[in-house]
């Protein structure tokens, strides 16, 4: 369980969620994105292609990060949600809050 961060040629910070995003590690993700934001980064993609499951704390962390990035004039997108993970966003109506792409390549194409 962890996060792997890269930066693409267009200046997008890509955070790959490896394993779970739950109450035990959501603060790590918030700190990671928050620190990058403080360092001047404004474009963020969080990719779930290697993720397992997300709990409501993880969803809440994504909502908080999206708000924080938007308030700083940036944008946060999501990608790689499988059918089960996408259902969590649909059940909670968070699918309308986030820009969600099927793959990281699609999300990065027009970022």
């Amino acid at each position: 369980m962890g996060f792997h961060t890269t930066r693409d040629d267009n200046g997008v910070t890509v955070v790959r969620v490896e394993g779970q995003l739950i109450v035990g590690n959501r603060q790590e993700l918030k700190d990671l994105v928050g620190n990058a934001l403080d360092a001047g980064e404004r474009k963020f993609l969080i990719d779930f292609a290697a993720a397992g499951y997300i709990d409501s704390s993880g969803l809440g962390a994504l909502v908080a990060l999206s708000r924080r990035v938007r308030d700083a004039g940036g944008e946060l997108r999501l990608s790689g949600l499988n059918e089960d993970l996408r259902s969590l966003f649909e059940l909670t109506k968070l699918d309308t809050l986030f820009a969600i792409a099927d793959t990281p390549e699609q999300a990065l194409a027009n970022f």
Binding site: I22, V23, D55, S56, L91
Partner: protein, 155 residues
């Protein structure tokens, strides 16, 4: 990930004839959010052992148990290191029953606001119980609100 403090007891009983074997899984964990992932993994592994692979059932079980444990650790026991959370799972031929119990003050599940209300839908908290209710087939609480029993159909 903290693993040393978890206690696991599994009792399997052979089922009569062609019915699947019954089993009871008990896990006790400290009030530490870092133990939740391992506890979920243990419960899922033992609850789904020997049944046909069903990724959707596994996902529903993992998220529901993770939510119930987070509620028990954070809201129930308030992360008090002297308090424990117990998980008891009973494997029946057609259902899985999972009970999560904390040692806190309890709560009234009817007092939990609906997270899809317009003023809450973009909030950062309050989706846990809602998700549990959406992901499992039945949810019951004890009178004190310290124990949740979730039923998942194997079908």
């Amino acid at each position: 990930m903290t693993t040393a403090a978890l206690q696991l007891v599994v009792r399997r009983t052979p089922g009569p004839g062609l019915t699947p074997a019954g089993a009871r899984v008990q896990v006790t964990m400290p009030s530490n959010v870092d133990c939740i992932e391992h506890a979920v993994s243990l419960v899922a592994r033992h609850c789904l052992a020997g049944v046909s692979p069903d990724a959707r059932l596994r996902f529903r079980l993992q998220v529901a148990v993770a939510e119930a444990l987070a509620n028990a650790v954070v809201r129930g026991n308030r992360e008090d290191p002297t308090k424990l959370v117990s998980i008891e799972a009973e494997l029946l031929p057609h259902h899985i029953l999972i009970q999560v119990t904390d040692q806190g003050e309890g709560f009234d599940p009817n007092d939990v606001p609906e997270p899809l209300q317009p003023d809450r839908v973009n909030g950062t908290r309050g989706r846990g119980l809602f998700l549990i209710r959406k992901l499992v087939d039945d949810v019951r609480f004890n009178a004190r609100g310290t124990s949740i029993c979730m039923t998942l159909s194997r079908q």
